[in-house]
């Protein structure tokens, strides 16, 4: 996300023109195609998109988790910015330097906590391991700290639980453990990749509440990757919508949900049931499927599925257009969409750019 009055120190992390490719037997997959965004300090940025859109690859690139080969970061920069010191460039760091950042300054939690933990090690030992590596603690200190961390993520009887193995924990409890591990070094940035997708809705609510509470206490900045618009609405300050390896729209959560300016964003909303008692309109699916990223389209990636596609869309992807709304004045976040319909000379299209308003009026 960018603010209207852009100052580098307002961001915990900025990404510019990131491109990631993978070489496979079938050819080169262009997984992330020129992605730029900023994570505002102390805020939550949700990256939304469907499977294969490049949202996980984007954050894996930041964390140095892309296996190279077959992966390749062909372009771009990602700067971790702290209030006190100079920005650190993450792309191209050597493994040793990365290890000082991963876990310390950037924590990460994944979708499936069961596969992220070692099934043969006690929970406590796994947390202690992190603390010894990153904070140089002794085993005794580590255990005391591990208990404190388990307590912080609201796991009761922390001392007993620390002696148990992962199989003795439920999925929700394991995700709390993962959060405890991620918090061990008080990271500036927490990256959560589909953290609640494998969990039940009541457990999801608990984990999301916990993340919000910890963010308030620690002042962390969070990147939340998800495909669930409900989770986005609950958690996000800012939203970036990804499609076919590109960010097609970004802005404040209110702007994205109520004044969306890209047909894909609007399409996602219409494909999701609303909980409005007065309104049970038929779901409108997005027909077709995303483009083949072996041969990404030269123009807009959404061209083939877009109900408003124009000739220009096939040939060229526009740069982001800034969208302005009267309602946005209080809002400091820039709202932009990569869609030709936002061009001054584009035909007025209901729901997309008419009066500059999106879906809000529904």
């Amino acid at each position: 996300m960018r603010q209207k009055h852009d100052h580098d120190q307002d961001y915990a992390l900025t990404v510019d023109n990131l491109k990631v490719e993978f070489d496979t037997y079938g050819g080169t997959v262009h997984a992330v195609r020129d992605v730029s965004f900023g994570l505002r300090r102390g805020k939550t940025l949700a990256i939304v998109g469907e499977s294969g859109c490049g949202k996980s690859v984007t954050v894996q690139a930041l964390m140095g988790l892309i296996p190279m080969p077959p992966g390749r970061i062909t372009r771009g920069s990602a700067k971790l910015r702290s209030a006190a010191s100079e920005a650190t460039e993450l792309i191209g760091l050597r493994e040793r330097e990365l290890n000082r950042i991963r876990g310390n300054r950037i924590g990460m939690i994944f979708q499936d906590p069961m596969t992220s933990l070692n099934p043969t090690m006690r929970i406590g030992d796994q947390i202690v391991e992190t603390l010894r590596v990153h904070r140089g603690m002794s085993i005794r200190e580590g255990f005391r700290e591990a208990e404190r961390l388990l307590d912080r993520v609201r796991i009761s009887e922390a001392r007993e639980r620390a002696r148990q193995y992962p199989f003795e924990f439920s999925g929700g409890m394991l995700q709390r453990v993962m959060i405890a591990v991620a918090l061990a070094c008080s990271p500036e940035v927490l990256i959560a990749d589909e953290p609640t997708t494998a969990l039940d809705v009541t457990i999801q609510a608990q984990i999301l509440d916990l993340m919000q509470a910890l963010q308030r206490e620690e002042g962390m900045s969070i990147i939340l990757i998800t495909h669930d618009l409900g989770v986005v609405a609950r958690m996000a300050d800012d939203v970036a919508v990804m499609y076919a390896g590109q960010i097609v729209e970004s802005g404040s959560a209110e702007a994205i949900f109520h004044r969306g300016g890209h047909p894909y964003t609007l399409g996602l909303r219409r494909a999701t049931p609303s909980n409005d008692p007065e309104n049970r309109q038929r779901l409108e699916p997005i027909e077709g499927s995303p483009p083949d990223l072996f041969h990404p389209p030269v123009g807009c990636g959404y061209f083939a599925r877009c109900p408003h596609a124009m000739q220009v869309c096939e040939g060229r992807m526009p740069d982001p257009f800034e969208l302005h709304h009267a309602a946005d004045t209080a809002d400091d976040v820039l709202h932009s969409a990569r869609c030709w319909l936002q061009h001054d000379q584009a035909p007025r299209t209901e729901g997309v750019n008419q009066n500059g308003a999106g879906r809000g009026a529904s």
């Binding site: 039940d200 609510a205 409900g230 699916p285 997005i286």
Partner: protein, 344 residues
């Protein structure tokens, strides 16, 4: 918004147009399905469930993982033996344990669509063979006629006849789910259990599959049991909603009533946990903390199953199991059933 069917009460989807909800099609009486772990321990997966499903109805069944909703669906179809209780179909008591002749008989009337379109299709069979199998086994249709039917059903579910010769791995998740639907529908069942049919799919594809199911329901007068954990989707799809917790029904009633005015404290917790895709509404939400997790279903004792997590728990909840009793919703004036001592 285009296509808005405004504030029509009742089922919106295909439901409304799809003919009138009719007589009782299927009924369960004190249905139980336990799984024995060892001599002393049993998993009470489905415990004393009584409900009815009427013709032309979509009954949504929600609950967390481990609540027994899939086991319930499979037990209805005879895929699990019944530990106790009965399932009646059009008034006829179904066998407690199916033999192959029973499957022969009922497979044409009752079918199932599975959650995972990746593991529920045999990777060594072509789409055409998968779809044809039901007809091949359960009817005397000639091979040529079967091929024609397969082509017809491929078109009906939005694929093309050329797809018949392809293998499952050549399809996307949404396309595979369409194959699963065609496989179930080709024998022209009356009743279909849809077990989390969209959970594994992307948002835009979910809507495609839901709309396909609605069209099929309308066209063929189907009755559906729609099992899912996505509350908003179940409310959107179903006429009535049943909420299951730890093997037992907590509440059952018209979808909108249950969703907007939940009575059982567990349903209230589910609705409160369900995130609304609207940041403005989410910010106004009361931060009511949600406690606890679904407990183990092994050797469930007497008392309300939800007592351990219930914010309104009373003394009697801990030792007396609440019965599913009719309670009138004063807003809609419709009676639903709730298993909670608060309403006893």
């Amino acid at each position: 918004m285009s296509g808005a069917s405004s504030g029509v009460k009742g089922p919106a989807v295909a439901g409304a147009a799809a003919g009138v909800v009719g007589d009782v099609l299927l009924e369960t009486r004190h249905l139980k399905r336990y799984f024995r772990l060892d001599r002393k321990r049993q998993v009470h997966a489905v415990d004393d469930v009584c409900l009815t499903i009427r013709t032309n109805e979509i009954l949504g069944l929600v609950g967390e993982s481990g609540s027994g909703k899939s086991t319930f669906g499979k037990t209805l179809l005879g895929l699990h033996d019944k530990t106790a209780g009965e399932v009646l179909y059009r008034g006829e008591v179904l066998p407690g344990r199916y033999r192959s002749t029973d499957f022969q008989r009922f497979a044409r009337t009752m079918q199932m669509i599975f959650q995972d379109p990746y593991s529920s299709l045999n990777p060594r069979m072509t789409a055409g063979e998968i779809i044809a199998e039901g007809l091949r086994l359960h009817s005397a249709t000639k091979p040529q006629a079967i091929r024609e039917e397969v082509s017809r059903w491929l078109i009906q579910v939005g694929l093309s006849p050329d797809h018949a010769s392809r293998y499952p791995h050549e399809f996307s998740g949404g396309q595979r789910q369409r194959i699963g639907i065609a496989r179930a529908m080709i024998v022209r069942p009356e009743f279909v259990v849809c077990d989390e049919p969209i959970s594994a799919l992307d948002v835009s594809v979910q809507a495609q599959v839901i709309n396909l199911l609605s069209e099929l329901k309308r066209e063929f007068g189907l009755t559906l049991l729609f099992i899912a954990h996505d509350l908003s989707m179940v409310r959107y799809v179903s006429d009535r909603m049943a909420v299951m917790y730890l093997g037992a029904l907590a509440e059952i009633g018209p979808s909108d009533d249950v969703f907007f005015r939940p009575m059982h404290p567990y349903t209230q917790m589910l609705v409160a946990s369900n995130p609304e895709p609207d940041p403005v509404i989410e910010r106004q939400r009361d931060a009511e903390p949600i406690h606890g997790e679904i407990p183990s279903p092994v050797n469930v004792g007497p008392g309300c199953r939800f007592a351990g997590r219930c914010p309104q728990v009373m003394d009697q909840c801990r030792h007396t199991t609440p019965e599913l009793l009719p309670v009138r919703d004063l807003t809609s004036n419709v009676t639903r059933q709730v298993a909670c001592h608060l309403y006893g």
